[in-house]
Amino acid sequence: MRPSEVPFEAPLTDLRRRIEELESYPEGSGRSKEIARLKEKLERDTVEVYGNLTRWERTLVARHSDRPHTLDYVEHLMSDWIEIHGDRAYADDPAIVAGIASFMGRPVAIVGHEKGRGTKERIERNFGQARPEGYRKALRLLKLAERFKMPVLCLVDTPGAYPGLGAEQRGQAEAIARNLLEMATLRTPIVVTITGEGGSGGALGIAMGDRVFMLEYSVYSVISPEGCAAILWKDQDKKEVAADALRLTAPDIFELGVVDAVIPEPAGGAHANRSETIQNVGGTIAAALAEVEALPIDKLLDQRYRRFRKLGFLIEG
C-alpha cells in the first residue's frame, strides 16, 4: 500500500506499524495487553477518521490502487470465467473487460473497467480509461447477453473515457452514445455498481441499468474535482472546494436520487478489507437480480425508462 495515496491514514499506518513491531517482540512484560490496547485504538481511530472524511478525501479513497477491481469481483464471486476480447472492428481495449461467468449457479454477463495492478499492468490498461473499442466490446457483450437471456452486471471504475487523438478519430462520442441508446432498451436485466471512480461519460457508457448502486466510498461525477477547479476556479489547487461543490460522494448521489442504494464498505474502506467489500457487493447484486428477474421484460423496460426519465431538477415557471 502507498500511504501517500491517502494522507489522512498516516496516524492509522503509524498504529499498525507499532502493533507489528510489538508482535515481533518476545512474549511477556504486558506485551499482549499493549497490543490489545493498540488494536482497539486502531479500530476506534479508523472509524473516527473514516467517519469524518471530506469529499476530496473520499475521492482519494475511491481512487485507491488497492481497492478491489472488476477482475477481483469476477475471481471471488464467479466461476467458469470466459473473457471476450475485441470490438470486431479495430482492436481490443484492455481498459474494459467483458465476459461471461457463472454467478449463483447460472451464467451472467459481466462488463467493467479494469485499472489493473502494478505499474506495467496499469499502463497496459491505460488506468481504466477506455477507448471507443472498449465501449464497442461492451456492446458486443450486451447484445450477446440479450440473445442468450443472461442478466448483465456492470462494474464501473474509471477516471473517464480516454481523451486521446486516436480515441477521437475512432469516435469516442459515438461509442458512448450508442451504448446509452442500446442499454435503454436492452431486453435483459442490467445491474450496475459503481465500485470506485464514476468518471463522467466514460462511466455512464456502461452504467445505464435497472438498478444502479454505489460503494460507500466510490464517487460519481460529471467532471473530476481537478478538472472542475481548473475550469471554474481557474486553479487546479481548488480541487477540495470543487469536490464539495460537485457533491460527488455516494451519500450525495443517493440523496439526489441518482442511485438506488449505497453498499457499505468495511471500516477503513474497501482497500482495508477487499474480501468483505466483494462479499457486500455480491450480496447486493444477488438480491437486486432476484428482484429485476422476477419482472416481465416489458415491465422492466418501462421501469428502466421511468428510472432515468425522472432524473432532473427544474422549476416550472
Binding site: 475512432r170 458512448i176 446509452l180 441508446l181 460529471v222 461543490a245 432515468f308 432524473l311 432532473g312 416550472e316
Partner: protein, 284 residues
C-alpha cells in the same frame, strides 16, 4: 486646451449589454480568412463569409427562422427554468450565473423547442443556444429535448435537434450527466416508433452532448468547419503533449472518419433536412 472635445460620452463597457453573435459595427473581421467583411453583407448571406465560406455562429432563434417554414412557429415547453439541486457555487453562485446568462442572451435556458414544418414536412425542432452558459446541458435542456423526442414519437413526426454546446453542465453535477441517459432513452423509444431523428451539429458541439444525442441521429449532419468532438482540444493536447493535426475535430474530419453522413452549407441546410424528412417519413 485639447484640440477636440468629446461631444458624446463614451459607450459603457460591452459586458452589461446583450451581446449579439455578430460584433456590432459596420465591418467584421472573418475568423476564417481574416478578411474584413461588410456586416450587412454578412447578414444577407446567412452569416457566412462571402469570401471564404466561413460559417459564423448564429443564435437559436436565427436557426429556427432559417429552418422552419412558419414565421412564428409555436414554441413548446416555455417556462422551464433551472433549479439548483447542488446549491452550486464557484466564484459565483449557479443561480446568479443562470440569471446573468438569461439577461445577456434573452433566453430562459440553453435550448428552445418549436413545432412547425420544414419544407412542408411536420417536425419538432430543438435548437440549442450557445450564448446561454455555453449551451451546456443541465436538467432543463435534458427535459426539453426528452419532451421533444416523446412528442415526436407520439405524433410519429420527425425530430430535428440542432446542437451547439460545450457539453454537460458542471453546475448540476451528476444530474447533468443523467440527462445524457434520459435523452438517449427517449431517442431509443422514438426509434422504436419508426419516426426519424436528424441530428444537426454546429460549432461547437463537444462533451456529453456529442456523446449522447449529437451522435445518435438516424442521420448526422454538420455545418462546415464546426468543432465537433468528445474531449475538448485543450484536454487532448494536455494528455498527448503534442500539437493536434490540422483540421482535427472539424466537421470534415468527422465526415472522413465515418461519423457524419454529410457536411451541409447553411444555405442548403433547410432543403436537405426537408428531403431527409420526406425520405424517412413513417410508413405503416
Amino acid at each position: 486646451m485639447a484640440w477636440f472635445r468629446k461631444s458624446k460620452r463614451p459607450r459603457s463597457a460591452a459586458s452589461d449589454r446583450p451581446r449579439s453573435t455578430v460584433p456590432e459595427g459596420l465591418w467584421v473581421r472573418c475568423d476564417g480568412c481574416r478578411e474584413i467583411i461588410y456586416s450587412k453583407e454578412l447578414d444577407r448571406n446567412l452569416q457566412i463569409c462571402p469570401k471564404c465560406g466561413f460559417h459564423f455562429r448564429i443564435d437559436s432563434r436565427a436557426r429556427i427562422r432559417l429552418l422552419v417554414d412558419e414565421d412564428e412557429p409555436r414554441e413548446l415547453y416555455r417556462g422551464l427554468l433551472p433549479a439548483d439541486p447542488l446549491k452550486f457555487r464557484d466564484r459565483k453562485s449557479y443561480r446568479d450565473r443562470a440569471k446573468d446568462y438569461a439577461r445577456q442572451s434573452g433566453e430562459e435556458e440553453a435550448v428552445i423547442v418549436v413545432e412547425g414544418h420544414i419544407g412542408g414536412v411536420p417536425a419538432i425542432v430543438a435548437s440549442m443556444e450557445y450564448r446561454f452558459m455555453g449551451g451546456s446541458m443541465g436538467s432543463v435542456v435534458g427535459e426539453k429535448i426528452t419532451r421533444a423526442a416523446e412528442e415526436a414519437a407520439k405524433r410519429r413526426c420527425g425530430l430535428v435537434v440542432v446542437s451547439a454546446s460545450g457539453g454537460a453542465r458542471m453546475q448540476e453535477g451528476v444530474v447533468s450527466l443523467m440527462q445524457m441517459a434520459k435523452i438517449s432513452a427517449a431517442l431509443a423509444r422514438l426509434r422504436e416508433r419508426g419516426a426519424p431523428y436528424l441530428s444537426v451539429l454546429t460549432d461547437p458541439t463537444t462533451g456529453g452532448v456529442t456523446a449522447s444525442f449529437g451522435m445518435l441521429g438516424d442521420l448526422n449532419i454538420a455545418e462546415p468547419g464546426a468543432l465537433i468532438g468528445f474531449a475538448g482540444p485543450r484536454v487532448i493536447q494536455q494528455t498527448i503533449r503534442e500539437s493536434l493535426p490540422e483540421g482535427f475535430q472539424t466537421s470534415e474530419f468527422l465526415l472522413e472518419h465515418g461519423f457524419l453522413d454529410m457536411v451541409v452549407e447553411r444555405s442548403e441546410l433547410k432543403g436537405t433536412l426537408a428531403t431527409c424528412l420526406r425520405h424517412l417519413r413513417h410508413r405503416s
